[in-house]
Amino acid sequence: MASAAKRQVAGKNGKPDRKVRILIGKPGLDGHDRGAKIIARALRDAGFEIIYTGLHQTPEMIVNAAAQEDVDGIGLSILSGAHNYLLPRIVSMLKEKKMNDVVVFGGGIIPDEDIPKLRKKGVDRVFTPGTPLQEIVTYVRERVRPRK
């Protein structure tokens, strides 16, 4: 993993030239990482820089990794039913670290009725099962910008 300091920030036309960095995380104890891994690959193939946390991460571990790697977006996959606790916890820890501009999105087994509550708590977007990869790639491309 390239460290933040080594990254190219200045680019042509005054636009940052560096790759957008996305952390893909698996918070909680469930081991279902098929979706997380597929999305990590699809985003990498689409040109993003991907940091994958691996399994069984606490909110603290994810937020620390996000800070260390200086990421622009965080994609979280949960299939255990613990999303109502874990996702808002991660968002509020990011706020505590003054990382409000990191875009947090999620997916997994998340009932429709929970989605508005999660959005209200700062989860930017929740993808439900069956979402085509291209839709997620397009979303990240449009929504996640390099942080200054």
């Binding site: 104890l29 279902h32 990482d33 990590a40 699809a42 087994i109 069956g130 291209q134």
Partner: protein
């Protein structure tokens, strides 16, 4: 079965048919697709004829049900004698909630129990651990101590009902608690029948609920093999599981190959631990996935039986016929269910279940239609059980043995599956066996590649999923969803703390020290675990102690 001379005539006839009547039709209207393949993306021919089987030998490849190599089934009478066990996986909330669901399912005609534990239990944490926040009772039942286990099986006689328990990292611990409940019920261990999944290699490959590194985990497993062969002889000690390998995105061949390679690793470990192969091998069982491609699945089950028989007889020189027989449980494929138009899942499950029955399964779980949304409601669980009962009682599928045996297509596919899976097993042997292959990340990588390949095919609509990439609807008909009460966590945490307050703490500490000593000395862990749980040591305390002596395992985080 097939005369070679006749075979060559059929080949010639087929050529004539292909160039004649078939070609004529294809010129007028071409086939729907330029290439047909299974859900695992194995190419399928337009037509299978006897000549394709070459020197097929009925006696060698099929023989008779109950006879080596068991391609047609492990029992001579199969379902004409007794139907498969209907064993629905259940578990949520507290032990009381799950006990209620168990009793309900038994009343509805289910014939065995199967327990789903929540993630903190699967990972060896108590419900009041920081790691358990938000997870308690969500994906299974919370079991922290013998107290919970007593409630879970309250009113269920353990000498009459067999129970399967999906537990791997802490399999020895949960099994010890189960033995503790048997003691309390006055049931002697030799009367106990049931299964612990206890398949740690599959955890590193696919399911990912582990505690310790591979080597100490394998040692705990051989402790269980040794202990059960002496004291719990009717217990199925490992349910070697392809299910999760498939759910993680493997192909059918990979599921078959990696699962049998895991089986080989366990048999090898048992033999190396000094247990005679015929003493423990008959109590090993298998667990497969019934995925969406009907014939591919039937072929997979048949190939699995034949391969295992050959492996046990030829490679491990087992003498007892029961060591050769691959008995298996099947679960329909959770990953094929869709959140879109969830009622369609009933049809998917029915077809998958039928493939398991035609493949000769010994027990079956049919998924509920709502499982891509949450844990099953009582109604959805009932429909799932009824699906099995309809196959058993109405469809006629259970009235003859291996009705697809002799199908040119199914036999050819069974042969091909065996050949391709053996190729994988040879590769794993060359790497030094499954433990070494896992450390290299080999099966993990193969599965991730297959999962990604399949997703690409779905996104391109080359593999169709009704309601997802074809026949879509703007608005799905909503179905009821089971909600886990947020108070479950509070209630469970309180109970565990009360257990800790009421027990003899000094004694518990001494038992945990004894356990640590045994873990370092290499003594069999089962008796010391049982001692600790009898005094109401908690699962988390026991696992923490062993984390200290045996170490922990972390995911290599590759994608």
């Amino acid at each position: 079965m097939y005369d070679r001379k006749k075979g060559s005539r059929i080949a010639a006839d087929r050529k004539r048919w292909e160039e004649g009547s078939l070609a004529k039709v294809l010129r007028r209207s071409p086939e729907r697709s330029s290439r047909f393949s299974t859900v695992s993306d194995e190419e399928i021919a337009a037509l299978y004829t006897p000549d394709i089987l070459g020197g097929f030998d009925y006696g060698k490849e099929l023989s008779f049900p109950g006879d080596y190599p068991y391609t047609r089934g492990v029992q001579p009478s199969m379902y004409r004698g007794r139907l498969w066990t209907m064993r629905q996986f259940a578990g949520y909330g507290t032990a009381e909630d799950t006990n209620r669901r168990f009793k309900y399912l038994l009343e509805q005609g289910q014939t065995g129990l199967s327990t789903a534990f929540h993630f903190p239990t699967l990972m060896g944490y108590d419900s009041d651990s920081q790691r358990a926040r938000g997870e308690v009772g969500k994906c299974g039942v919370a079991i922290d101590s013998l107290k919970d286990m007593e409630i879970l099986f309250d009113g269920i006689p353990l000498d009459k009902v067999t129970t399967s328990m999906t537990i791997n990292g802490p399999a020895a611990m949960v099994f010890a608690m189960y033995l503790g409940v048997a003691e309390k019920q006055g049931v002697s261990f030799d009367k106990l029948g049931g299964t612990i999944q206890n398949d740690i290699l599959k955890e590193y490959i696919a399911q990912h609920a582990w505690i310790f590194p591979p080597e100490p985990s394998m040692r705990i497993i051989t402790d269980i093999l040794g202990y059960c062969s002496d004291y719990v002889p009717k217990w199925n000690t490992i349910s070697i599981s392809g299910y999760h390998i498939r759910e993680a995105g493997s192909t059918a061949v990979q599921e078959l190959a990696f699962t049998l390679a895991d089986g080989i690793a366990y048999v090898k470990a048992g033999v190396e631990a000094g247990i005679p192969v015929d003493k423990f091998a008959p109590r090993l069982s298998y667990f497969f996935n019934a995925h969406m491609d009907f014939f591919e699945e039937v072929a997979k089950f048949r190939a699995a039986r034949r391969m295992w028989a050959r492996i046990m007889k030829e490679r491990f020189k087992a003498k007892d016929e029961n060591s050769w027989k691959l008995r298996f449980h099947t679960q329909t494929a959770g990953c094929t269910l869709t959140a879109q138009q969830p009622l369609n899942n009933v049809a998917r499950v029915a077809l998958q279940a039928l493939s398991a029955v035609l493949g000769g399964t010994q027990s079956l779980h049919t998924n509920s239609m709502d499982e891509t949304l949450a844990l099953p409601t009582e109604q959805a669980a009932t429909v799932a059980l009824r699906t099995q009962q309809i196959i058993a009682e109405e469809s006629g599928a259970a009235n003859t043995i291996d009705p697809l045996g002799g199908s040119f297509f199914v036999e050819k596919m069974t042969e091909d599956m065996e050949a391709k899976a053996m190729e994988y097993i040879r590769k794993i042997d060359d790497m030094g066996g499954m433990v070494a292959a896992i450390k290299r990340g080999y099966p993990q990588r193969e599965i991730a590649d297959a999962a990604f390949h399949y997703q690409r095919l779905v996104d391109a609509a080359e593999k169709k999923i009704v309601g997802v990439n074809c026949y879509k609807m703007d608005e799905d008909l909503p179905i009821p969803i089971l909600k886990i009460d947020e108070n479950v966590e509070k209630k469970q945490v309180e109970r565990t703390r009360e257990v800790r307050r009421k027990r003899n703490t000094k004694l518990v500490k001494a038992r945990i020290e004894a356990l640590k000593d045994a873990s370092l000395s290499g003594a069999n862990l089962m008796p010391v675990l049982l001692d600790a749980f009898r005094e109401y040591a908690t699962l988390g305390e026991v696992c923490d102690a062993l984390r200290e002596t045996l170490g922990t395992y972390t995911d290599p985080a590759m994608f």
